[in-house]
């Protein structure tokens, strides 16, 4: 039940939550068009992600394309992970991203020094940001998602995002789609074009 007039949440996603363990996930996508006419407090995130389940609770690792993070009014990219053992969330240094830039989101296990690395790379400018998450647990779940904050109509969300050429090590997902019908948005559609390498998250834009 939503008591707020504006919607925040994972508006649409593709997921695999019935696998064993993943050790590497690479996804490519182009930065979509910016929201056509967003309110100043709107924030949109697009990411691929791993999730694990240590005893303290789930932990997410994600290279994130951010729109309007901290009120920037533009696209940026940063690797994120959390919560850590102290319940804190971490963000790597951001990189600049423009509409149409080719992005690579990569999460992988580094055998030495035994840590998970999360990286986002702008292939057009070669800027890269990487962050290390230690070893929070076995990566059981994978996601692709459009997460939004404070949206109230289609003007607040970006264009379609085509996650393609995705590769995995460890397990291989069989993507399933999920759309949040609580979101005040039209045109949300998760299209699994081909398993497991291509998924499009559609919006009305």
């Amino acid at each position: 039940m939503n008591y707020c007039t504006k919607y925040s949440g994972w508006a649409e996603k593709a997921y695999e939550t019935n696998a064993d363990s993943f050790i590497k996930f690479v996804a490519y996508w182009s930065c979509p068009s910016a929201p056509p006419s967003p309110s100043s407090d709107v924030v949109d995130y697009l990411f691929n992600a791993f999730q694990c389940y240590p005893s303290g609770g789930p932990v997410i690792l994600q290279p994130v394309l951010e729109w309007n993070y901290a009120g920037s009014g533009r696209w940026t990219g940063a690797p994120w992970w959390g919560p850590d053992e102290n319940n804190q969330y971490h963000r790597g240094g951001p990189i600049e991203i423009s509409v149409g830039d080719s992005l690579e989101g990569k999460i992988w296990w580094e055998p030495s020094p035994q840590v998970y690395a999360i990286q986002i790379r702008n292939q057009d400018t070669s800027s890269t940001s990487v962050i290390y998450a230690g070893n929070p647990g076995i990566m059981e779940d994978v996601f692709l998602a459009l997460e939004v904050y404070n949206v109230d109509d289609d003007n607040d969300v970006p264009g379609d995002t085509d996650f393609h050429s995705m590769t995995f090590e460890g397990d291989t997902p069989i993507w399933k789609g999920d759309v949040d019908e609580n979101a005040p948005l039209s045109g949300l559609n998760v299209e699994i074009v081909s398993q497991p390498d291509r998924v499009i998250l559609h919006t009305a834009n």
Partner: protein, 318 residues
Amino acid sequence: MNMDKRVKKRYLVGIVVIIVIGVGIMSALYFHQKGTKFQEKSPQTELQEELASTKALLTVPVGCIHNNFIQLKPGETGETYYTLYTRNGGPGEVSYKIYSVAGVHKKEEMTMPKGLNVSIEPSKFIAQPHKNYTSKITVKTSPELFPHDVNVSAGGIAGKEYKLYLQVIFEGENETIGDDWLRVLVSPFTVPGASGLYLPRGYLHNNSITLKPGETKETYYTLHTGEGGPGWVSYNIYRITGKVNMLPMPEEEKLPMPEGLTVSIAPNNFLARTHENYTSKITVKTSTELPPGEYVLCIEEHFDGSLTNHWLTVNVES
């Protein structure tokens, strides 16, 4: 000679001690393994337990928090709600207690962090059978809860999460399933991912079923609600071409169910609460007239506004 006897005696005692210890260790290992084996549950037992648990969840008093995740800026106040569905329970006094814990699913009380204040109103009332009671939870934060300056251009620590546990006591009702957890993320800016850490998720126990015309077979679907709920769960099963995988499924991909193939799911259309598993039985019934072949079914799940689907392939052998 005496010396030799003493040495022999010590030698024998030593051997006996070693044998006794060895037998002890082996016995311990044997009984431990046996015990472990006895504790292991067969898939059938687990399934029966899941079905029994689902049945209980649909009949006993239940309750849960509406939004289990709140993101606040340091110094902000947020609200969410808790609803208790008494069903056959009551009349009786209901009381709520809410306190800080180390994590979701943890119940041990910890000191409330300085700068975090939480209350629920009403926290005590008399509840009658077949009624719903909603209380408001207010979470107040102070700036000291997140003392970091988030460095937007360099990165670093971007937010901190606190976990709260809500305990429900419904006097005279032993089977109330109402305890729940609330996550409060304090950050100057939004944090991606955090809101979806406990999203609902479901799985089919089998992705395909093979049977002969005239046979009936069953499989199961389990929904883990996570932080979804309270909300209604409904399932819709239809046949699809299996060629296009889109959600929502385009109308042109839907096919009429062939004559002689009946598929049902139960329970269907029920109220679900947070952090529980609900297992429904899917029955696939065929008649002798059903032509052999592969039939792809789409099991569409609606829960708390979220739409997802799973595919079940029915192979009918000649």
